[in-house]
Amino acid sequence: MKSIFLNLTNMKTIKLLFLPLFALALFSSCSDDDDAPAPVNPSELITNVEVIFTNENDPNDVVTLSAVSADGIVDPTLSVSGPFTANADYTATITILDDVNNEDILEEVVEEKDEHFFAYAVNQTINVLDMIRDDSIDPQRTDGNYLGVETAWSFGAASTGTFTLQLVHEASSVDDQFGEPFEFGLYTGGELDINNTWNIEIQ
C-alpha cells in the first residue's frame, strides 16, 4: 500500500518540526556569558554645594550654607554655620563639587555659562533687603545676564526664614534683574540641577 506520509522525505520533514528545540539547546550552550556587567560610574553628580557669605566690613564674619549628598543621589544634609549679622552687607560666592569623581562642577558651569543660571529666593519672613550680581567678577552670559556665582547681599533687621539656591540648566530664557517678590533672578523652562532651601537667621 502506498502511503505518502510514510515515505522518507516526509519523515525527514516531520523531524524538521522539532528544529526549534535543537536550536534552543544551541542558543543556550553558546550564549552563556556570565560576565558581570561593568558597574556604571555615575557622572554629572553634585555631592557638595556651598554658598559662602562674607561680611563686607568684617572678613571674620563668614556664614556658610552647605548641602552634602554623599553619593550625589541620597537626600542631602543641609547645614548653616551660624546666623547673619543684622543690617550688614555680605558678598557671597558658590562652590559646587563632585566628590565621587573629584571634579569641580562649578568650573564646568562657568565654562558653559550660556546654558546655566543661578536663581535665589528668600521667603517673606526674613529681612533680606536686596541682592545684586557683582558685575565686576560675576561671569556674564552672551545674552548679557550675569550667571550669579558672585553676589552681594544687604540684610535687614533680626528675623528668621528660608533661603533657596537654584541652578537651572538650559532654561529657554533668563533675567537677572527681575523675579517675583523675594526672588532674585527669573527663568523659564530648563531643569533644576540644584534646588536647595536652608533655614537661616539674622541676629
Binding site: F5, P37, V40, E44, I73, V168, S172, G190, T197
Partner: protein, 803 residues
C-alpha cells in the same frame, strides 16, 4: 501526534483504490465577504493538469472524475489565489469562497494562507491598504485607533502605542510579516518600530485568542502583512507624497515590485519622513520634530509545491521630546500644572534637540514552505532582530550628546509549523517556536541602567484547530504551552535594595556585595511555565451572526516591570520595578453579534476580562523622592493587583443612499482594581466617532467625508494625589497627578479624487483637515498631558501615484 497524522493519511490514501471515473464535481465560487458570484476565475486541476474557468454565475463543472482526492487551485484577478482539496466519493457539490484583494492582484496561495491563521470566533478587524494609505504620514497606532475598542497611549504626539481594551505594551504583540516584533515594546514611551507605508494589511485581534502567535498577548495581537509581489510577469509600484501643515512635515514613500512567471520575485520599499515642531492651537510644541527613515527588501521564489522568501527591513527613527517635559523636580512640575502652558515655547524649527530618542531596528527573516498533497503545508522560519534604543537628555560637560539610555536588544527566533488543511471541514495547525534574546545596556552612558543586562529563552508549542460542522457552526479550539526563562545581571544601589526589603527576601541572588561603592550585583533568574487555552464558536442564522470566545492566557512580567530603576528625565519621573511581581493570568470571555442587511450593519462586541496579578505603574505612597541636590521628583512604581476589565464596542454602518453613508463606532470600558476596591489607572474614557461619507464613482471617484470624534472625561480613576510643601515658600500644595482632563470634541474633514494619467497609471489626490475647529484639549492617556495641549488644526495634502 504522529499516530494521528499517520491515521489521517492512511484514511485518505486508502480511498484512492477503486477506479470508478464517472463522477462530476459541481463548484460554485463566491466572494467571501458579500457572497457575490466570482466570474471567469481560473481553476487549475492539478491531478489532470487542466484549466477551466467559472461561468457567469461563478459556477464550474468537472466531469469524468475518479474516486479520490482532487486539488484545485483557483485564481482570479481581484482575489487571493486559493487551493482547495476535495475528496471525490461520488457526484459532489462544492461551494468555495474567495477573498477579495483589489490592490493586490492574485497573490499566490502559499503566502496567502498565512492570513487565515487569525482566529475566526474572536473579535477582530481588518484594515486594508487603501485605509492604511490615508495615514501615510502617521503611526501604526494612529491607524489602529480607527477600530472601536482600540485607543492610544501617547508620549507627546509622535510616540504613540496602541491600547486594546485598556491593555497595552507587552500585552499587545505586533507580528511583522510573521515575526513577533521585539522592539522593547515593554516601555510606555516605546512605540512600535514600524513603517506603515510598508503594509498591505493590518489585522487586529482583540483578546488573547490568536495562540498561533503567542500565549501572552492578553490584550491582543496586531498582525501586519507587508506589501508583496504579484505572481505574474509584472513590474508594479506606487509613490505617495504627503505634506502636513501643522508640523510642516513631508513624507515620501515609494515601492517597486518585480515578479516573473517562473515564480521568482523581488521588491523593495522605502520611506522618508521629516516633521518640524507641531503646534497646539495657542503655541508651538517645542522640540517635537521627527526624522524617520525606513526601507525594506524582499525576494523569493514560489511554485505550487514550495516557496521560500527572505525579507529585510530597517527603520531609523529619531523623535524629539517636548522640551517643557524635560524639567527638574516636583517644584517645576507644580509650576507647569499651575501655569497651564509649556514652560518653554520657542519659534518653529525642524531641528531636533535633546531630549530625544533614536531607535534603529533591523529585522531579517527567512522562510521556507512546502506543501504536501493530501496533508497540508510545512513552514520553517528563522528571524533575527536587532533593536537599539538611545534616549538623550540634556547633559553637561563631557556627557553632552552621550545618551542616558543605550540599550541593544537582539533576538533570534526559529519556528516550525504544520498546517493540516486537506480536509476542508477541519483545519489543524501545530507548531513549535523558540527564541533567544540578549539585552545589553551600555555602561558608557554614565547613568545607572534603567533596564539591566539580561538573557531570555522562550519555547512555545501550540495546536490550533478549526471545525466546520454540518449544522452551520464553526468551532475553534487551541492550546499552547510556553516556557520563559529570564536570567538578568542587575546592579542595585544599596539604598534601593534595602528600602524595598530585598535584603530580607532576595539575599540569595546577591553575587557581589560590593561591585562598586554603594552598589551590589545580583543575578535574578525567573522561570515561568504557562498554559494557554482558547475556545470559540460561531453560528450564522440568516442575517444574524453570533460568536463566543473564551481564552485563558498568562504573561510573564517584562524586564521593565521587574527591574526598572531610575530617573526618566524626559517625563521627569522616577520609575521603580518590582522583583516580587508574579505572572499575569487572564480569563476572558468575549462575544460578537452581527446583523447585516443590504443597507444596515450593526456589530456589538461585549467582553469581560479578569486578570490576576495585573501589573500597573502608579505613584508611590509618598509620591516623591529627593534626588541629590536637584530636589524632589515624582516617583512611580510597578504594582500588582487583581483586575476586572469589561466593556463593549459598538459599530453601526448605515447606507442612506447609494452614495451617502453614515458610520459610528463607540467604545466603553470599565477597569476595576479588585484588591484596592477602586478604579484602575489609565483606562481609556468613553469615546464615539461618527463619519458621514459621500462617494461618487462617476465623478473621478470623488469621496468627501466629515468625522466627529468625542472623548468623554474619564470619571473612573484612582486618586493618587498627595500634599507637598514647596521648600522655597513653605506653601503646602496638593499635587494633582490623578484628575483626568476635560471631555473634548474634534471635527475632521477628508476628501479625495482619482484620475487616470496614462493607460495603466492612476493619480489620487487627497485633501484633509484634522481638528478643523483648532480645539485646545488634553488627553488622559498622554503622558505629557501635564505639560502641554495636544496638536491643533492640520491641513494635509496627499498625492498617490500608482504605476
Amino acid at each position: 501526534m504522529f499516530r494521528y497524522i499517520g491515521l489521517l493519511s492512511l484514511a485518505i490514501t486508502s480511498l484512492s483504490f477503486s477506479q470508478d471515473c464517472n463522477f462530476t464535481l459541481l463548484g460554485e465560487l463566491s466572494d467571501f465577504h458579500d457572497g457575490t458570484p466570482i466570474v471567469s476565475a481560473t481553476i487549475y486541476i492539478k491531478e489532470n493538469d487542466r484549466y477551466i474557468t467559472s461561468d457567469f454565475d461563478g459556477k464550474f463543472k468537472i466531469e469524468n472524475l475518479c474516486k479520490g482526492p482532487l486539488t484545485l487551485t483557483i485564481s482570479h484577478i481581484a482575489c487571493e489565489t486559493k487551493t482547495v482539496y476535495v475528496n471525490i466519493t461520488g457526484d459532489t457539490f462544492k461551494a468555495i469562497t474567495l477573498e477579495h484583494h483589489i490592490e493586490e492582484l492574485g497573490e499566490v496561495s502559499v503566502t496567502g494562507n498565512s492570513t487565515k491563521q487569525e482566529t475566526n470566533t474572536a473579535q477582530k478587524a481588518v484594515i486594508e491598504v487603501n485605509e492604511i494609505e490615508a495615514f501615510s504620514s502617521g503611526s501604526l497606532a494612529d491607524i489602529t485607533r480607527t477600530i472601536s475598542g482600540v485607543s492610544t497611549l501617547n508620549t507627546g504626539n509622535n510616540i504613540v502605542k496602541p491600547i486594546i481594551h485598556g491593555l497595552h505594551s507587552s500585552r499587545v504583540i505586533t507580528m511583522q510579516n510573521g515575526v513577533r516584533m521585539q522592539d522593547q515594546e515593554w516601555g510606555l514611551e516605546h512605540a512600535p518600530t514600524v513603517d506603515v507605508n510598508a503594509l498591505q494589511e493590518i489585522t487586529l485581534v482583540k483578546g488573547a485568542s490568536a495562540l498561533a502567535y503567542s500565549g501572552d498577548a492578553i490584550g491582543g495581537a496586531i498582525v501586519l502583512r507587508p506589501i508583496k509581489a504579484y505572481n505574474r510577469d509584472t513590474l508594479v509600484g506606487k509613490t505617495i507624497a504627503v505634506y502636513d501643515s501643522n508640523n510642516r512635515g513631508y513624507t515620501v514613500s515609494s515601492s517597486l515590485f518585480k515578479s516573473y512567471k517562473e515564480g521568482w520575485f523581488f521588491g523593495g520599499q522605502g520611506t522618508y519622513r521629516r516633521f518640524g515642531d507641531s503646534k497646539a492651537p495657542d503655541y508651538v510644541l517645542s522640540n517635537t520634530g521627527l526624522d524617520f527613515k525606513a526601507f525594506s527588501l524582499q525576494s523569493g521564489y514560489r511554485s505550487f509545491e514550495e516557496s521560500f522568501n527572505v525579507y529585510y527591513s530597517y527603520v531609523d527613527n529619531e523623535i524629539g521630546i517636548l522640551s517643557s517635559a524635560h524639567i527638574g523636580g516636583i517644584d517645576q512640575f507644580i509650576e507647569s500644572i499651575e501655569s497651564g502652558q509649556p514652560s518653554t515655547i520657542q519659534g518653529f524649527t525642524y531641528d531636533i534637540k535633546d531630549p530625544r530618542q533614536r531607535i534603529r531596528h533591523h529585522l531579517v527573516k527567512a522562510e521556507y514552505e512546502r506543501r504536501f498533497s493530501n496533508l497540508g503545508k510545512l513552514s520553517i522560519q528563522y528571524d533575527y532582530q536587532s533593536n537599539q534604543r538611545q534616549e538623550f537628555d540634556r547633559r553637561r560637560g563631557d556627557f553632552r550628546g552621550v545618551p542616558s539610555i543605550d540599550l541593544l536588544l537582539q533576538t533570534h527566533g526559529l519556528q516550525t509549523k504544520f498546517l493540516f488543511d486537506s480536509n476542508s471541514n477541519v483545519k489543524v495547525q501545530a507548531g513549535i517556536q523558540s527564541q533567544y534574546q540578549d539585552n545589553f545596556a551600555d555602561p558608557a552612558t554614565g547613568v545607572f541602567r534603567l533596564i539591566p543586562d539580561f538573557q531570555r529563552f522562550d519555547i512555545g508549542t501550540f495546536v490550533t484547530s478549526e471545525w466546520k460542522l454540518d449544522n452551520g457552526y464553526l468551532l475553534e479550539g487551541a492550546i499552547r504551552y510556553d516556557f520563559n526563562h529570564i536570567d538578568a545581571q542587575k546592579i542595585y544601589r544599596e539604598f534601593r535594595w534595602e528600602e524595598r526589603g530585598y535584603d530580607q527576601d532576595f539575599a540569595d541572588i546577591v553575587v557581589d556585595e560590593n561591585i562598586a561603592p554603594g552598589q551590589l550585583l545580583t543575578n535574578p533568574v525567573y522561570d515561568f511555565h504557562n498554559i494557554s487555552v482558547a475556545i470559540g464558536a460561531k453560528k450564522r442564522i440568516d442575517k444574524h451572526e453570533f460568536a463566543l470566545n473564551y481564552s485563558l492566557s498568562n504573561r510573564a512580567p517584562n524586564p521593565s516591570e521587574l527591574f526598572s530603576d531610575g530617573l526618566h528625565q524626559s517625563v521627569a519621573r522616577i520609575e521603580v520595578g518590582n522583583l516580587r511581581l508574579g505572572k499575569e493570568t487572564a480569563n476572558q470571555l468575549s462575544a460578537t453579534y452581527t446583523y447585516q442587511n443590504s443597507r444596515f450593519k450593526v456589530l456589538v462586541e461585549p467582553y469581560i476580562n479578569r486578570i490576576d496579578n495585573y501589573i500597573f505603574i502608579a505613584p508611590t505612597e509618598l509620591g516623591i523622592r529627593i534626588i541629590g541636590q536637584a530636589g524632589a521628583f515624582l516617583e512611580y512604581e510597578f504594582l500588582g493587583t487583581d483586575a476586572l476589565i469589561y466593556g463593549v464596542d459598538l459599530n453601526l454602518d448605515y447606507l442612506l443612499s447609494e452614495r451617502l453613508s453614515i458610520k459610528n463606532s463607540t467604545a466603553f470600558i470599565i477597569g476595576e482594581d479588585l484588591k484596592n476596591n477602586e478604579a484602575l489607572i489609565d483606562m481609556p474614557p468613553l469615546n464615539t466617532r461618527t463619519t458621514i461619507q459621500y462617494q461618487n464613482k462617476e465623478w473621478n471617484s470623488l469621496a468627501v467625508g466629515l468625522t466627529s470624534d468625542f472623548f468623554a472625561m474619564q470619571n473612573n480613576f484612582p486618586n493618587y494625589n498627595f500634599l507637598y510643601t514647596v521648600p522655597s515658600t513653605g506653601e503646602e500644595v496638593l499635587v494633582d497627578v490623578s484628575t483626568p482632563p476635560q471631555a473634548y470634541h474634534l471635527l475632521h474633514f477628508n476628501s479625495s479624487i482619482e484620475t487616470k494619467l496614462f493607460k495603466k497609471n492612476t493619480l489620487e489626490i487627497g485633501f484633509s483637515i484634522q481638528n478643523i475647529l483648532n480645539t485646545s484639549y488634553r488627553n488622559y492617556l498622554n503622558r505629557l498631558r501635564f505639560f502641554a495641549d495636544e496638536v491643533g488644526r492640520n491641513f494635509q495634502v496627499q498625492l498617490k501615484f500608482n504605476y
